[in-house]
Subunit: 178 residues, 2 copies
Amino acid sequence: MQEQRISESIDQYMGLLKSRGFRLTNQRRIIVETLLRKLGTHLNARELLDLAQEEDPSIGIATIYRTIELLNSLGMLNMVNLEEGFLRFEVPDEQMHFHVFCRSCGKTVHLADEESKMAEVKGWAQSEGFDLLPQTFEMAGLCRECREEGVLDEPFDAAIPIKGVRGRCRRRCGRMPR
Amino acid sequence: MQEQRISESIDQYMGLLKSRGFRLTNQRRIIVETLLRKLGTHLNARELLDLAQEEDPSIGIATIYRTIELLNSLGMLNMVNLEEGFLRFEVPDEQMHFHVFCRSCGKTVHLADEESKMAEVKGWAQSEGFDLLPQTFEMAGLCRECREEGVLDEPFDAAIPIKGVRGRCRRRCGRMPR
DNA sequence: ATAACTGCAAATTCTTTGCACTTTG
DNA sequence: CAAAGTGCAAAGAATTTGCAGTTAT
C-alpha cells in the first residue's frame, strides 16, 4: 500500500475510535499503523509488539493485547487461528479473507475472488438469521507439494475421515511411526 | 448416535490408530468414546478430562492434550476456535461442519445442508492446489436477537469495516462508551 | 523385553489484571 | 481536572514437557 493510502486508512481507523468515544493515543496510532503496514501478513502479539516498539520502545505487551481486544470488538481487526497455539491478527483491507493453510508444511495462501465468496458465505449465515462480521476464514488442507511428497498414505473419503497427516507435529505425540 | 454405531465408530478410530502403528491404550479408547458420545457439542480440554475421568479417574490432563494432538494430526479431530481464549474439539461425524456464532451473545448454530457447502468450499481450495481436510469452519456474526437489541449502531458496509460491536467483552478494553 | 505411553508436577507460553502514573479531551 | 489509557510486574489460564513408572505388542 502506498504511503498516502496508509495515512488515509490510519485516519479512518482513528476516526472510528474517536466517534465511539475512545481516545486517540499515540500507542493506538502506532499499533494501527503497524497493522496496516504489514497488511497481508499475519502478526501475532509478540511480533506486533516488536514492530510497534521500533516506533516507541516504551509500549508494553499489555497495551498490545488491550488494543487488539478493542479493535476486534469494533470489528476492525480479525483474529487468525492457524492451529499454532496462539492467535495472529490482521486488519481487514476488505471485509473478508479466505486463507487456506497446509497442515503439513504450514504454507498459507489467500483465495482468489474473495468478493464473490464473501457474498456466498454471507448468504449462508443470513439463512440462519446471522449477519456476518468482517473476518478471516481459515481452512486446513494439504498443499500439492506435501501430497506429492506422500504425506498422505490413504485416499480421503471416509465418513469418519480416515487420514494420516503427519502434521507440523510441534509437540510430542507418541512416536511418529513408519 | 445409537450404541451400536458408537461402538463401530470407536472401532474405526482405534483401527486407524493401530494401522498407523500407534498403540491401543485404554485412555485413547476412553477419549475417543467420550468425543463420540458428545458428538455435536464442542468440548474443551478440561471438559473432556472431566468426562473421561468418569470412566477412569486416573487419566491426566497431559494425556488429554497428547491424544488431542495425535487425533488432530491424523485428521480425526477438529479444533474449534470460538474466540474464547482456548480451543474446543470435536470428531467429525461428517467431513465438515459450518458454525456461525454470535460475537455478542455467543450463541452457536450449525448451518444447514453442509454437504453442498462442503463441495463448494473444497472447490475453492482445489483451485489453489489444496485438498481440504475434514474440519469445522467458524464464522463470527451477530444473531437477529442481538441486532434487534441494538448491539449495532451503524449499518455495515464500509470497505474498512466500520462497526461497533459490543462483543462479549470478557476483558477490560477501556470503557464501553455511550 | 522393549519401545510406546502415561501420570505427575514443574515449566512454558500466551494472555489478563491491579495499581500507580500519565495523557487526552 | 477527571476519566481514560498506559506500563509494569505479578497473576492466571491453557498447554507442553521431563522423567520415572506402566503397559501394549
